[in-house]
Every structure is written in C-alpha cells, then in structure tokens.
Symmetry: C2
Subunit: 810 residues, 2 copies
Amino acid sequence: MAVSMDDDVPLILTLDESGSNTSAVNELDSEDLPNENGGSCDLVNDMSSPATGDCYSQQRSTRDNWEMKYQEAAIYLQEGENNDKFFTHPKNAKSLAAYLFVHNHLFYLMELTPALLLLLLSLCEAPAVPMFRLGIYIHATLELFALVVVVFELAMKMRWMGFYTYLRHKRTMVKTCVLLVQFVEAIVVLVRQTSHFRITRALRCIFLVDCRYCGAVRRNLRQIFQSLPPFIDILLLLLFFMVIFAILGFYLFSPNHSDPYFNTLENSLVNLFVLLTTSNFPDVMMPSYSRNPWSCVFFIVYLSIELYFIMNLLLAVVLDTFSDIEKRKFKSLLLHKRTAIKHAYSLISEQRSSGISFKHFEGLMRFYKPRMRTREHYLTFKALNQSTTPLLSLKDFYNFYEAVSLKWKAKPNREHWFDDLPRTAFLIFKGINILVKSQRFQYLMYTVVAVNGIWILIETFMLPGGSVFRRDVSWSYIFFLPISGAEVLLKIIGLGPIEYLSSVWNCFDFAVTLFAFLGLLAREFNMSFYFIVVLRLLQLLRIFKLKKRYRNVLDTMSELFPRMASLGLTLLIFYYSFAIVGMEVFSGVVYPNCCNMSTVADAYRWVNHTVGNKTVVEEGYYYLNNFDNILNSFVTLFEFTVVNDWYIIMEGVTSQTSHWSRLYFMIVYSVTKVVMTIIVAFILEAFVFRMNYTRKNQDSEEENGIVLEKIISKEEMEAVIKRYRRNCPASEISELQNVAQIDKDRQISILFQGRRSRTKSDLSMKMYEEEIQEWYEEHSRKEENQQQDVFPSRTPLPASGLRQRSQTII
Amino acid sequence: MAVSMDDDVPLILTLDESGSNTSAVNELDSEDLPNENGGSCDLVNDMSSPATGDCYSQQRSTRDNWEMKYQEAAIYLQEGENNDKFFTHPKNAKSLAAYLFVHNHLFYLMELTPALLLLLLSLCEAPAVPMFRLGIYIHATLELFALVVVVFELAMKMRWMGFYTYLRHKRTMVKTCVLLVQFVEAIVVLVRQTSHFRITRALRCIFLVDCRYCGAVRRNLRQIFQSLPPFIDILLLLLFFMVIFAILGFYLFSPNHSDPYFNTLENSLVNLFVLLTTSNFPDVMMPSYSRNPWSCVFFIVYLSIELYFIMNLLLAVVLDTFSDIEKRKFKSLLLHKRTAIKHAYSLISEQRSSGISFKHFEGLMRFYKPRMRTREHYLTFKALNQSTTPLLSLKDFYNFYEAVSLKWKAKPNREHWFDDLPRTAFLIFKGINILVKSQRFQYLMYTVVAVNGIWILIETFMLPGGSVFRRDVSWSYIFFLPISGAEVLLKIIGLGPIEYLSSVWNCFDFAVTLFAFLGLLAREFNMSFYFIVVLRLLQLLRIFKLKKRYRNVLDTMSELFPRMASLGLTLLIFYYSFAIVGMEVFSGVVYPNCCNMSTVADAYRWVNHTVGNKTVVEEGYYYLNNFDNILNSFVTLFEFTVVNDWYIIMEGVTSQTSHWSRLYFMIVYSVTKVVMTIIVAFILEAFVFRMNYTRKNQDSEEENGIVLEKIISKEEMEAVIKRYRRNCPASEISELQNVAQIDKDRQISILFQGRRSRTKSDLSMKMYEEEIQEWYEEHSRKEENQQQDVFPSRTPLPASGLRQRSQTII
C-alpha cells in the first residue's frame, strides 16, 4: 500500500468554513461544507494554551454552543457503546470535567495498575512464593500506596456521578466498603508488624473486576449470577436424592465392617457427594460389592439418576437460561444503543431539515473519535448515507456503530514490496512470489510437514523404552529443519516481511522455526529445545479447514477465543479468592508422610529406603498439592476443576485439620462446577447458534469479516487535503503522497475499503431479523409513553467543560 | 364409573344393513347406516369356520371387494404407523397371507423369545455365572432350537416380502448371515463337545435389535450411526492434538527417570489418552511437577485445549446433528403417515362424493383396530368429522392417527365407589373421601413426611461413628410407620382401591409402606429392611412440583423416561457385545495379587497378615472388576462408562496379557463415550425443546394430555346397541347397563371423553406449525411429479387373503 497510515498521529480538525472554494467538489460536498457561520478556529492548535484562542470572534457563543452539542452527543454515543446507564450522564460543568477525566485510557490504566498490584502482592505476602518474598514493611507500604490510588480514583468517580448517584451505584459502593476494610487492615499490619488472619484479601479481586478493561469479566459474572437460580434449584433436587440415598446406603452397608465409606451418615453423605463427581467410583463400591455382588445395583441406580440424569438436566437448564439471557442481553444492548443514537441525533440534527450535515457529523466525530482523520470521517459519513440527499436521516444514523468500527484503507496500487526494484531483481522476486503463493507449493509444504510428523512419530516410537534422552540430534530434525527454514525464508522474500507477518500462521511458523534453530544451537550449553519444531505440525490444522465441518469448528474456535479468554479470567478470579482463603486456613498443613493415619496415607507417603546399593524413593507426591503459596494453590485449585482424585487432596487436608474443612472443598467444587457448566453452555450455545446461522444462510457463505467499498473522487480528496494543509502542516505529507499517487496513476478516484471482523452481534442481527423489528416497535411505543421517566430532565452542558475535554482525551 | 369396559373381548362387527329401522336416530346416522346393498353377514361369528358362511348371497363379490379394500387400507394405515416402507406392501395373495401372519403380536413374541433366549444363554455358557452353569449339550441344544425358530421366522418374512425385496432389505440380510454363522458354530460346538473361541456370539444381539418390539432401539442405533461422522471428525482433531502433545511430552519429560508416564512414546500416548478422561490426572503430572513446578503448564494447556474445548465441541457437534436429525425424522415420519392416509383414503372414499361414510370407516376400523368396539369406532368417526356433512373429507382424515389413539370413556355418573351403600356408611365414607381429597390433608402428610425425613436424618447422624447396626428399631420408625400406614388405609377407603391405585404415586406409597411393615416383621428372622420407608421421602418430589421450574423438569423427566429406557437398552446391547469379547479374551486373567509387577499393584493386592491377635485383611479389591462371567463383565463395563479409574482396570489386564489389550479398552471407552454423548445430547435437546415450547405457549399451560369430548345421544346409543345385540349377544350386557344408567338418570345423552397422553410429536406439531405447511406443499408437489416412482404398480389384493387376516389378527 502506498499510503502508510500512521493512525497514532492525533489529527483533530475543525471544519474550515472559509474553504468555501471547495464548492467545486461535488454536490454533496458543496452543499455540505460551506454553510453555517464562518471563522476558522483551530481547536487543536490552541489546545496547549487553553482558552486563549486568538481567532475567537463574535460568533464564538454560537460556535461554542454547537461544540457543546457535539460533545454531549459524543458522550451519549460513548454511553451507548459502553452500555453506561444514562442516569450517570454528566449534568453540569463539574461532573462533565470529572466524566472526561474518568473516561480515558490513562485513567483506565490508573485503575488497572493498583488492582493488579494488589493482586500480585499475594505473591510476596506471608505464605509467599520463595522467590518473591518481601519484608512486611515493603509489601504493606506498597499495599497502602495502591489503596491510596484507588481512593483518588473513587473520589474522581464520585465527582462525576454526584454523591447520590454514587450511593445508588451498587458495584462502586461495594468497592468502597472493601477499600475501607483493606485500608484498616493494611494499617493494622503496618502497626503490628505482622500479618494477621487476613481472609478479606480474597476480596481484592473486586478492584480488578471494577476496571473498565474487565467489562467482559463483569458481564460473565453477571451471567453466572443470573444462571444461579435455576442451577441452585436443580442442585437442591440433586441433594434431595443424595440425602435419601445416603440414608439408604448407611442402612444397607454399615453392617459391613470392612466398608469405611458408609460407617457413619456423614461419611455416607460425603462419599455420595464425591461419587457424584465419580472421583471415588469403583473404590466406594468395592467393599460392599465383594460381600454381595448385587449391591452394585445401589450404585448403578444412584449414578444413573444423579450423574447421568440430573447432572445433565443441570447442564440443560443452564444452557437454556444461558441462551435466553444471551438473547435478552443482545436485545437490551441493541435498544440501549438505539436510544443513545436517538439522543445524539436529536442534539445535532439540523433544525430546518431532518438530518445531520457532514459539518455537524464531523464535529461530533472530533469528540467521539479524536484519533480519526477527516478523510475517515468523510468515508464513514458516506458509508452511513444511504439516501441521495446530503443529510443523514435518523434511519441512516441508526447504523452509526456498525459504520464507525470500519477500518478504512485505500485499495493498494502497488502490489508487491519489490515493485520499485530494478528489472532483474524484480523478475527474481516476482518468480519467488508466484511460487510461494501457488497452491502446489502450499500443498507440497503441507505434505512435507505431514511426512515430518509421521517420521518423528515413528522415530520416537522406535526408541528403546525408558531410554535416556539422546545426545545426538535425530535425523528427522537434521533433514526437516533446514526445509522449514528455507520455506520461511522464501516466504519472507516472496511476500515481503510486512505481508508475511500479517498472517498469524506465518508468525507462528516463524517463531517455531526460529526457536528450533536456537534450540539446536543451545545444545552446546546442554539445554536443547529444538524438538519444539514438533509444534509446526499444528500447521496441518489448515488442511483440516478444507472440510466444511472443520472450517465451521475452527472458525467458531477463533470467534469464541476472546470470550473464552474472559471466561478463563473469570475463573482465575474465583481461583484467587479461594486461593487466599485456602492459604490462610490450610497453608503448611500437608507435607510428606503427614497423613499416615488417614485412608489416603499412600498418596502422601515419602519413603527413602535402600535396596541393595541403590536408594529407592517411593513417593506419593500428593503433598505437592498444597496451599503453601499462591502459585501452588492455583495448581491445586486447577486439580479441583479437573475433579479426578480431588477427594484425596480433601481427605489429606481433612485428616490434618477438622472435618469442617470439607465444607471449603465442597464449596470450591460447586463453584468451579458452576463456572465450568457456564463455559460448556457457552460453547454449546455459540456453536449451535453458528451452525443454525450457517444453515439459514447457506447460499451466502462469505469470508470472515464485513467489507464496504466507497469511491472518493480526486476532487473530494483535494478538498479534504486542503483542509489538512491549512490546519496541520505537520502530517500533511502522507496525504500529499496519496494525491501524488493519484496523479501518477492518472486515476480520477481512489477506492477505499472499510473492513471489520464479523462479531456475534452481526450474526444475531441476521438471526433475529424479524424479532428485532418487533423489539424496535415495542421500544418506541414504550418510549413515547415514558419519555419523561427514561430521560431525566437535563440541564444543558456549559461551554466551560469543552476545553478540558479536548485536553484529557488526547 | 358404571360401565366397566372390558376391552379384551374381541368385538368385530359388520355394519348391519338390515337395521334400517335405526333411521330414526339422527341425521348422520340415518343417512349413513342403511345405504349400500343389504345382506347381514357376520364376519365374527363364522370366523371359526372359515369360508363357510351360510349367509353369502349374490352380493358376495361386491362385499368381498369392499372388505378387501378395507383390509388394504388398514394395511396402509399400519404401514404408515409403523414406518414400514411401501415397497414391502403385500402385492399378492401369498404375500398378504404372510404379511398378516408376520404382523401380529404372537409372531412378535415368537421373534422376541428366541432372541432373548440366545442372549440369556451367555449366562450358562463357558465362563458361566456359577449359579446358572449348564452342560455343553444342554446349552448348545437350546441354542440350536432358538436358531431354528429364527429360521422359520425369516422364512415367513421372505414369503411376505418376496425374494428380491428380501435381498434388498439390508437389516434382514445381515441377520441371515449372522444366523448362518451361528448355526454352523452351534453345530461345531455340539460335535466337538467343547466351546471354542466364539467371539461371534457378540453378534447375537442383532436378533434382539431386529425384533418388532425393539423399534426404539433400532431408531437409537440409527441416530448413533448418523451422529458418527461429525463425532469422528472431531475425534480426529482430538487425536491430532494428542499426538503433538505426546511427542512434546515425551521430549520434555522422558529425561526424568522417576517419571513412568512419559518414558516411551507409547506410554506418552496412552497416558495422554487416559488424561483426556481425567482418570489419571494429578498423578500423571506429579513426577514432573515435583522436579519443575512450571511443567504444570504443559498439562494445563493440554487439558484446556482437549478436555475443556474440543471435548465440549464434540458435545456441541453431536447436539447440533442430533436436533437436526430429530427434525428431519419428524418430518419424514409425518410425510410418511400422510402418504399412508392418502392411499387409504383413495381406496375407501365414496366414488360419488368426496368422503368416507361411517359404514366404510367402520369397515376399515374392523381391520385396523379389531379390538375396538363399534361405539368407539363411532366416537372416533365423530371426532374426525369436522364438517357438517356426514362424510369424512381427506382433510378430516389426515388427523386419523391422532384421533384413533384416543381412549374413550363415558364420563362417570357414579362419583364414588360407595354411592350404592346404605346412608350411614355412605356418610362415613364420604367424610373420609372429602378428608383425603382436601388440600390440607395433602400438605399435612407432606409435612409429616418431611419431618420424618429430618428426624431420620438427625437420628442417623447422632449414631456413634462406625457403630454396629442396631438391634432395636429406632423411634422414628415406630412413630412414623403407623402414620403412613394409616394414611394408606384412609386413602384406600376414601377413594376406593381402583381409583387409589390408578395413581402411580399411590402405588409407590403402598408398596413402600407394605415393604416397611414386612421388613419390620422380618426382623424376627434377622433380615430387616424396614428402613426402606426412607424411600417414602420421594413423595416430597410432589412438593417440588409447586415451583414451575421443577414442574417443567419433572414433566420432562417423565416424558423422557421411555426414550431414556430405550437408550439404556441400546447401551446394554453394546455392553453385551463388549462383554462377550471381553470374556473370550480376558476371562480369568485378573485375580488377587495378579499384578504385583505393574504400576497398579496396590489396587490388586490381597494380603492377609496378623497384627497381634487379629488377622487384618488388606484388600485392593480391583481383582473383582473382571470378565469372569457376563454379570461381572457388565459391572466392569459400567465402571468404564463412569470412566474414573478405568485405567487401573486397563493396566491390570494389560500387565497380565499384552499391551494390545489396551486397544480393546480404548475402543470400549470411545463407544461408550459416543453413546453417553448421545444421551446427553438427547436430554439437552428434549429439555431445551420443551422449554422453548413452554415459552412459546405460555398462555395455554394445559394439563398433561389431550382430551376430546363428544356427546352421544340416547338414540345413537340405542342404534349402536341394536347392532351389538344382534351380532354379539355375549358382550351385550355392559352396553345394556350403560343404557339402563341413562334411563335411570333420565339423561338424553352421554358425554364421552377421549383421552391420550401428549407425545413429543404433538409438541413438534405445534412448534413447527409454519414449517409443516411448507413441507406438505413441497411434498404434494413432489408426489405429483413422481406419482409412478413413489407408488409402484399395485395389483389389487385377492379376496382370498381376507379370511386369513381376520383369523390371525385376533
């Protein structure tokens, strides 16, 4: 691409009204640009010297009035995008200033940093990871510091929302309470110079959850809490059957003295609970089964009812609630956005006609997306404008969010990076390019990768069992590593480094090959990791994509990934809380040979005895699953999530503490079960939704992403540039290049492509097409009825807020 | 109810044309009954002396012609109901006779018995259950006998279908081949007088699957096979990742000598496969984790990708395929039925007008439902007839299957069983009746049950741990057992035994209380099971029903039950095959202390050592999970289904045989995984479907079942009875009673209620309402185009088949 678009240069431009000579451009432009009162006033240039603009003329109040409207409209649109409720809409100058201060990335980072710091502190506090241990003074001071930052940040929020709204905002209130407790405790720690029993540290994750960047986690948590009622209902059913079976089991099996699982009702209950997780399955049955073979009927009936029926019902109920919630959420988000757009529209639409002119649209966009260029504003405007008139109607404007997320790029004129090289070089590179891009080359490389995989498999298989790690590098690597190296090199040369690295697969390929070479070199230092080249086999996933089902699966996978990551983070937050509690209560409880009196003694054994000349170590290893520091706790909790053999850990800890500890483990199990069920429901819902979507739209199997094309003529381009030149001489060069390119190629116009990836919201829009119309109608009917209630009386924003905003946003 | 309707008396009645004096009845009747040629010919009475009817007059050929048409129409309707393809429609006299022979319950039983016998034989064969062991002569002879019956039955089928259709019918062909093999092997066993390696016994379940009564199992199997392709696709993806991780794991962890899990690539693969089932989870990680804590990342990544992502995708894909298949199946069944109805209609509709008269309808019904009474025929006809004309149009007739499954009952005039008793007794019983039926009494009993439950729970909890089973009956039983006994008694008296036992819950209650009393008595003989009264707590499930979610869940539960049972049977069939293979290969392989050299030695240990004076038995018990006879094999396979610790069984057997045995266990695991996934998908689909249905039809929350009411006037009744009296004097009494009742109550008409339970098909009908119309249109369009192809040229049925049919059906 000829025009290197450095999006990071902030270009905020006002419309230049004196540029009325652009009326030659085209109908749209000429009608649009040179209306309204004149006076070219550059907001950007005098941003550094606030409120001392030298070009403010008599029209200033009118202008300011408009600017203020732009800003408020932009705030509405932001609120729509972020799903902020309108009752926190800034109502006066003070709150506007605070709003602007609170809503920008610097502030968001300032939120995130102390939250992360607080979480990371648990690496260094009392049962610390040995590597990170810090003195009590240091970590308590760090904590206090982080807490002070949080206090500051909350104060700013209160300034924005006002005291009463602040009190009404539940999440913030909870945060404030937790903050207070933490503060007091941190001071107590400093004064006593020793850590006390600080179980409240588990609440620290609230600071993280409240961060703007953790919106997805908050949504997940909300969804989890919304799914709780049906979940708990079914859980009760489960427990009901469990109690009945526990009593029955006690009466049936307690006469058998060799059966330790049912000798008391408590044991009976606990073991049936564990049986629900299948974790102790054949073992729990064995003593009674060896007495009387028919006792297996009890267990089979229990498992059939509880595990195979009710547990699946649990999933079914959660899945059902989940998809219902997803739909409702989609609906409310959609309607919220629509309301926001309506508010914004009513602020900046022309009084005389029904619509938004480009001038006002750009004014709005300057506040809404300050980093966007005028050209992009213009393209977005063109993309929105479906009618022939130069004004945006409300109907056009409803598509605002979809259009604004498009990334515009001029369609490249230069095809390859080597186009400007001398002829001979060009031909060579062109040859490589054609080779690298050919299907045959691709398939050849896949074949090589597959052969490589099979070779490695066989080679590794032929190694003598239990052999020592070999000193010599195997032939497969010697043969295939250079091949993959050559492929990487060819591709880099043929495509150019930028195009090459724009594909994730290529990056992956590059990294793996590089690491393999480094690993080969590192053999000199006795630490080889060249076998990492095995990961290159993952390239074969692309062959899988040839089949439609895999394509669906893998596409869904990549679509699901962000959401999965946020679910993972949610799980980690739960882990954190449980880990803190676990550390406070069970740290140092289990160690080798700790539980010799319990039923799980074997798992904790560590015997070091001598047979002949050799010392043989017999290890049960389970003492490693402890709560001695936060990292260990995380691993232990992960083992709980996987469920298998969790009762060994539970019994080990229980035998060292009291039998009430089981409560902790059962709660951990239940909570992870909830989260895991939600994850399963999420995957199911997303996948089935997508399959339904594909089935419904079989004919239109498009690529991943939405593409829109708009043509801008040379005249329009020049008009835009002229505005650039006058206002921002610094960044004009790239635009000039662009025009030069047009001149050189003797084109009349440039084709711009707007591109964005398709989100689930797009799919939902298409799936619920018919229902959405109903929602809209219902919504507008409701709005008409409750106009006053929904939208509280609003005092117009004062002009004084304006400057400050421009300062803080950039 | 006054009229005790004994449905078991076969009442096949022709219309009595000479009964033209019934023309007084009503318009419908008078127009309908006395048309067409006369001659009262009783099919039923001369059934026992076939083809010698003395009343056959000159109209015989016309009558026979009509009777033949009735019969063929009935066959069409049967084919529609059973989803038999029309190409097996009997085409000539011989095949009609065979068809009639093959399609009745006697024959179905004849199919079922040898199939069950063959399956049960494995209890007695070679590695037999000790109790059932039989000599080789005996069981081989039994087998031969059963096989001969199967041969006969197949011969009859061939007679019906004709040789070529028989060859085309895949299932029957497979059955024939299996039959041949079994025959040869059974003879070989008899000759050699010893059982050889008979792995083909695993195929015996085909005989069961092919039974008419196992239609649901066949459908399940088809659904499983249809879900296989997507399942296998995802399984390949799973294996692909597994191989990559296995190689990586081998390179990473094999340098650690104390790690037995990754020392060879084979071990690495096997252990990662087992890890997929989480069965060896923390253990497999421990050796490497104790060396380097960061090695847990490998396992966490592996489990996240494989277990939490792809395994759930597996479920998602199966669920998606499943609901798609369910819909397609519903569609094809619906259209098949519709075609059948169309064929039947075109056969028996009147030529002169467009419709079926009652006369012809009854003629059809005599063949289609020979056990139905004339009155019920009449009611069904009335239920179908939506128009005012006395003829059924095709549109009316399309509802045939729904109407015919209604069970008609006269609305009872007598409310209680004690209505006829003397006044004093009546009042007492009436009082009890009111008491028993009152809500307060219900809730009082629920409270008693709940208190009972809590009391038992606390009482059992207070017992000292590991206490001996007590000699004395606890107070809770002494207190509550009489109460529940009294409740049962009161209810039986108040409602009358018949009404009491018509509720499943009451039956359950009765049985539990009875057993509890018996158990109390049995204490004298040292075997008490009075604690079974605990099961009475299940009564509390009815309280759960007060909440809507539980109502939905429990209703879905009861709706799912038949299908679940058939899925369970399907699983058992798989178990059977695997059990046979397991017994042939692994029988007698594991025993106490068998595997002392393997990694799972502990689980198989059986040590009997003396500590002080007492002998302490240390048992690993796992030697009980063997393949020594078919019952043991079933339990072992169930343990595989539950998955936990299955690798201990696998490793035990492997250490005694070869490492190829793992293949068997992995296949068993995969197959049970498929079936279990289908079961989960089935529960999910059914539940989500039902919830969607409830959400769609929120306003009309009806009871479970479809009820239709029709009034029959006294005149109509008498006309029907007149026909009864002439034809079947034996069974006339109950009908007379009915009329007597009418006379006594001075009613003009009787209200009849037709009732049937709601099936999933009804729900689907409502859910897909709009689509169904499309399907119909599409279908009729297709049919018009391919009239000839769909419906092969049909020669009319000969009259000779007629008699035979009447004989065999009843």
